[in-house]
């Protein structure tokens, strides 16, 4: 990583980041508990957006299936929480479906750290396997996107169908404690909030590091011209696989944090529509800029919670229109608007320059 000069612009950006971090850390002081919970949920979504931006904004691979990775992480943590609540005995929904004892693959989830490890490992493994079998055959672009969509469908169908093991359409809910602390108490929620903020900042720094390294350069090269990258001698498939896996792991972490805050996970939260909403957050915030993706996620979710309470039917309408407008008119998103305006100003200045010195 090369050392970057501390130009005034960079100092302003760093100050901006520091201010944002300070604001996030001090939020519990002036925000009510309910809104703090909402904010924590938005931050979990922002983490997913970072992962999605890593793979879409920087590598050019659109994945409409990130809901699945998010959901798998969430389900891993949910299984642990449910077992905590039922004290190691089979949970209630298993009893309803006629299962008498805890299935084998549920038993290790009684351990918190195992659940965390699985929450990161399972999505990453799934992404690695899918990535291996697709990128290796140069299946990319739209075909890959369709395959991720199909993955979403079959995973949701599987989760709903295997009701005895996964709780079916109702999902898994009814948690009471996490690591011994009551999950409903405001103190636990505050600690969980701080953990979420720390995770967001940590993953942000990690993504920045990945982007700034040589690996990140190759990723951007793959986005801009995959064939040329191949001609130079790199194997794009390896890079695509690795970044897909990292992105899925990030989504898994976000899922685990999400379920700790929201207290329920069901197949409808990881299906096609949530996956596409994640893409919309990144598109609006600005793909290709990490801060844009995170801001886009927070803003869009805040707008959704405000809007849906006022006009529940209009929200889908608005989202569809927003999709069309953003894709056609603002491909770089809101974060890109700033650079677009700067570019326009520069061009206007250059034009006046030319008029003032016609001999040049």
């Amino acid at each position: 990583m090369r050392l970057q000069k501390f130009t005034p612009q960079r100092i302003w950006i760093l100050i901006g980041y520091a201010a944002a971090a300070a604001a996030l850390f001090s939020a519990p002081l002036f925000v009510s508990d309910f809104r703090l919970n909402l904010l924590a949920k938005f931050l979990a979504f922002a983490i997913v957006a970072l992962g999605l931006d890593l793979i879409w904004g920087f590598t050019g691979i659109l994945s409409l299936g990130h809901g699945i990775f998010f959901g798998l992480g969430a389900y891993a943590m949910a299984m642990y929480l449910k077992l905590e609540a039922s004290g190691g005995r089979p949970p209630d929904f298993m009893g309803w479906s006629g299962l008498k004892e805890l299935p084998l693959f549920w038993q290790p989830f009684q351990n918190f750290w195992f659940a965390v490890a699985m929450g990161i490992a399972i999505p990453a493994l799934l992404a690695l396997v899918l990535g291996y079998f697709t990128f290796r055959n140069r299946i990319r672009g739209v075909y890959f996107t369709i395959l991720t969509q199909a993955l979403v469908i079959i995973t949701t169908t599987l989760l709903i169908g295997q009701q005895a093991f996964t709780g079916g359409t109702n999902g898994i809910t009814g948690y009471q404690t996490v690591l011994g602390y009551s999950i409903g108490s405001p103190d636990t929620k505050r600690v969980l909030y701080y953990i979420t903020v720390a995770a967001l900042i940590g993953i942000f720094v990690f993504c920045r590091f990945v982007i700034g390294s040589r690996f990140g350069k190759v990723l951007r090269a793959i986005r801009d011209g995959e064939n040329r990258v191949r001609f130079i001698g790199y194997n794009p498939a390896v890079y695509q696989m690795v970044v897909f896996t990292i992105s899925a792991a990030i989504a898994g972490i976000a899922g685990m944090l999400f379920v700790l805050h929201v207290g329920i996970i069901s197949p409808s939260m990881l299906g096609i529509v949530p996956s596409i909403e994640m893409v919309l957050w990144v598109a609006i915030g600005g793909r290709g800029t990490l801060i844009g993706a995170a801001l886009g996620a927070i803003l869009m979710n805040w707008a959704k919670s405000e809007f849906s309470t006022a006009y529940p039917e209009g929200w889908l309408f608005f989202m569809g229109l927003l999709f069309v407008v953003v894709v056609v008119f603002m491909p770089k998103g809101v974060a890109g608007l700033v650079s677009q305006l700067k570019f326009r100003k520069k061009r206007r200045e250059q034009k006046h320059e030319g008029v003032r010195n016609p001999a040049v």
Binding site: N227, V279, V324
Partner: protein
């Protein structure tokens, strides 16, 4: 033996529906590299057109003529979906030419808007379309096996559409221009083919076929605003599996997916069946990444 025949017939019926849904998609994608996520909503538009035609016949024409509404509904669904597709292409898709991922997202947005519109106009609950009386009942093959006339009709309809598309693509001037643009867009433009018109026409025809699919789906169950979303991902898989550029590929892809879906669902249950089909498709794509029947061209992509 009867069970086997019944499963075979079910597989064929599902394949025919998938083929009808995927035909328009395959043609559009093969030509313009645009994945139209609003395709499901165009199917829904076709279904609602049938519903409207039925209501018109019900309100204004004598009872005896009611059953013939279906014969009129097929071209009406085609026409209305055709117009919607044309408007969509001329106002939106045209600007997203060459950006397949962006057009995917933009058409998804359009699909959402159309779904909401349908919900506000027709209401969220499903509406029932009464099928014409001459389609009730079935064909008795052996004792115990009844092949419903509705499904037979749909298979016949799909076959007719396929033949019509074949004649359009391979035996008409417009079709020749379409094939030229599909194989080498720039060269076709240099030779005087108006790619803009070919794009618009092809997209509109693909949408029209989706409308006919919607009309066919009214025979199978109630219709609602989210009718399209159920079939759309399967249609995409047909396109991915069958390859783009040739009708044969789409036919084979649809048959393959329909048959295997029925087969696996019969062996295991519905959810595991879908997983197995997906795994088979990904496994097959290892062997032939461009799909079953791929159009070979000299360009690298």
């Amino acid at each position: 033996m009867e069970v086997f025949l019944l499963q075979l017939f079910n597989g064929l019926s599902i394949s025919s529906i998938l083929l009808l849904v995927a035909l328009g998609l395959a043609i559009t994608f093969g030509l313009m590299k645009v994945i139209n996520m609003a395709h499901g909503e165009l199917i829904m538009i076709g279904a609602y057109s049938t519903y409207l035609t039925q209501n018109l016949f019900h309100d204004y024409l004598p009872e005896s003529m009611f059953d013939w509404y279906y014969v009129l509904a097929i071209p009406v669904s085609f026409a209305i979906a055709f117009v919607f597709g044309l408007i969509l292409e001329m106002s939106l898709i045209r600007f997203l030419y060459g950006r397949p991922l962006d057009s995917l997202l933009a058409t998804w947005g359009v699909g959402l808007v159309l779904q909401q519109l349908a919900r506000s106009i027709f209401g969220a609950p499903n509406v029932a379309v009464t099928s014409p009386a001459w389609l009730n009942g079935g064909l008795k093959i052996m004792d115990g096996t009844l092949l419903p006339y509705k499904r037979l009709f749909i298979i016949a309809l799909v076959a007719a559409c396929l033949i019509a598309m074949y004649f359009y693509i391979y035996r008409s001037h417009e079709g020749r221009r379409m094939r030229a643009v599909m194989q080498n867009r720039d060269m076709a433009a240099c030779l005087g083919v108006s790619t803009r018109r070919v794009d618009a026409m092809t997209f509109a025809i693909g949408s029209g076929i989706a409308g006919i699919a919607g009309c066919a789906l009214t025979l199978l169950g109630p219709i609602g605003p989210s009718l399209g979303t159920y079939y759309i991902v399967d249609a995409f898989m047909v396109v991915v599996l069958g390859g783009v550029g040739k009708l044969v590929g789409t036919v084979l892809g649809a048959t393959g997916i329909g048959m295997f879906n029925t087969l696996f669902e019969y062996w295991t249950n519905a959810s595991l069946g879908k997983v197995l089909v997906f795994v088979c498709i990904v496994a097959f794509l290892q062997w032939k990444p461009m799909g079953l029947v791929a159009m070979r061209s000299r360009s690298l992509d």
